[in-house]
Amino acid sequence: MLGFLFRRAVLALLVCLTVLVVAFSLTRLSGDLAVSIGGPNATSEDIATIRKNYGLDRPLPVQFFDWAANAASGDLGRSYLYHAPVSGLIKERLPITLALGMSGLTIALLTAIPLGIVSAMREGSVLDRVIGLVALLGQAMPSFWLGLVLVIWFGLKLQWLPISGIDTWDGFILPGIVLAFSAIPALLRLTRAGMIEALSSDYIRTARAKGLSTASIVLKHALRNAAMPVVSVAAVQLGFMLGGSIVIETVFALHGIGYLAWESISKNDFPVVQAVVLLLAMIYTALTLVADMMNAVLDPRLRAG
């Protein structure tokens, strides 16, 4: 078990280092940073000054190691746009995105797993087909459109929920639902496929031969074996939600990491871009690590390997 964790942790570290290099290279490839910082009215002298002040005249490897060393010690540089430390910006924005992602994932799991189980138990029935169709529709619906529709119905017409902002906890419900919709189809189909396979297995026949209750057969014996791919994909989906909630953050006026990323990319605020990419990469690898650990808890055979 410890060896397993150690191998995964080393792998995760290597992934983060690779992302670090890629993120740095990409920002440098996207044009002359000094020119974009200077703006359209800057003279060539201004640009030369900027280049010198920001250290952009140094060789690229030197710039990289300088930045990496600072990042390792927690200093992610200063934003040109906000004239504030990047780490402060992230600290301020991250909780919003995390709360949004968690509510999205929670809603997605609470919907997808029960529906997937029911679908698997009634495989081929009308109910199964209806659930499959709803999942398909969910996947086909663009999130900005769904977000606006929900705002119009539940925010404006029924006035049940706030339409934007997060002054109270229920502000997370509508954006959470929209985020969840994109994750539900994959999770639902995985749950269904896994449960169909598990329910037709020999050990389920044994469980039935033992006279166990349907609840115990389905929820204890089958679900645990069907859960592993669902856990892995749920981790990836949460990563998507945290990194890709730009549209939803915009629709619901939530100033999270997604919004920050979009803003900094469009204004070429490269210290922020680099830091956000690095942060998301770390979140992704951490989530994958957590999923691997959860799977090792679920399946004793993985612990041995």
Binding site: Y203, R205, R208, A209, H221
Partner: protein, 320 residues
């Protein structure tokens, strides 16, 4: 004869695609008796057993004139009431010990839950009982085994665990579906000896499904030979081995080499042709295409004929 533990008359099981897998079999198993159900793959042995347990796959239907276990009419019981009997009064072990245990739970947890479910026992009491049964089936260090997972055990050990698990609630009837087919020959012998010993000790009614006539000779008091969903010959093991009457039974026995009796250089007996697809069913004898004695009468309905009062055969040759 005292009232049998399991009494089946005219059991029919069909699948949703129209296949008539079991076409009217009758059999009885008495307390302390081993009844062997013999036949080739696909003849309906396992489906018959699953029909008794009500463990058939979805879409399959069973019906019978009589299907009685103790005082329970199994044709009338709801699935809920069947579940109450299964694992408690009637238990079953399967051919595939490698996949029949849940990989995600410990042996102890899987054994204990049967006792918790049917006896309302606490986890501690159930684990005690499980440890007791593991030693009874010849597993050393039961305490250690209870904490292990199925993948840490060999096939023979897993089948012992399955047997111990089936005996948790002291069932009256044990159905063993090819319990040794997937095991090494030496382990096979151990498992069979164990089943015999347990049967003698607990007075189990044992319905043993096998394709191996060596096992039948060793274990059975009664034998039913199945072919294409029907019982073609039935009788005491002694009568059946002494005077096999149905051509199929004779063919099966002819396939077994007997040391000292079967001549060395002669080819071993075999039954020509292949097992027919059962499909919707047959008119007349299903074996007649492979039978050396086939006659026009074989296409009609053939009633069971008594060779002796306890030995019946379904064949035109036995007609008076």
């Amino acid at each position: 004869m005292t009232k049998p533990v399991l009494d089946i008359v005219n059991l029919r099981t069909g699948f949703s695609d129209g296949t008539a897998a079991v076409r009217g079999i009758s059999l009885q198993v008495a307390r302390g008796e081993t009844h062997c159900l013999v036949g080739e793959s696909g003849c309906g042995k396992s489906v018959s057993a699953l029909s008794v347990m009500n463990l058939l796959p979805r879409g399959a239907r069973r019906s019978a004139d009589v299907m009685r276990f103790q005082d329970h009419d199994l044709t009338r019981l709801s699935e809920r009431d069947m579940a109450r009997l299964r694992g408690d009064k009637m238990a079953m072990i399967f051919q595939e010990p490698m996949t029949s245990l849940n990989p995600a739970y410990t042996i102890g947890s899987q054994m204990a839950e049967v006792y918790e479910r049917h006896r309302g026992a606490s986890r501690a009491a159930a684990l005690d009982r499980a440890a007791q049964l593991l030693s009874r089936v010849g597993i050393t260090a039961p305490g250690l085994r209870l904490a292990q997972y199925p993948h840490q055990l060999s096939g023979g050990l897993r089948q012992r665990v399955m047997i111990a698990m089936a005996l948790m609630c002291e069932p009256e009837l044990l159905i063993a579906d090819e319990p040794t087919t997937a095991l090494d020959v030496t382990v096979q012998a151990q498992i069979l000896r164990l089943l015999q010993a347990l049967q003698a000790e607990l007075g189990l009614a044992l319905l043993l499904i096998t394709h191996d006539l060596g096992i039948v000779a060793r274990m059975a008091q009664r034998v039913s030979v199945m072919y294409a969903g029907e019982v073609v010959e039935h009788g005491s093991a002694a009568a059946l081995f002494a005077a096999p009457t149905h051509p199929y039974t004779r063919g099966l026995l002819g396939c077994i080499p007997i040391p000292g009796k079967t001549p060395r250089d002669e080819p071993l007996g075999s039954i020509p042709g292949t097992v027919p697809r059962i499909g919707q069913g047959f008119a007349g004898c299903a074996f007649r295409d492979r039978c050396a004695h086939a006659a026009p009468a074989c296409g009609g309905t053939i009633p069971d004929q008594a060779v002796t009062p306890a030995h019946t055969v379904r064949c035109t040759m036995a007609l008076p």
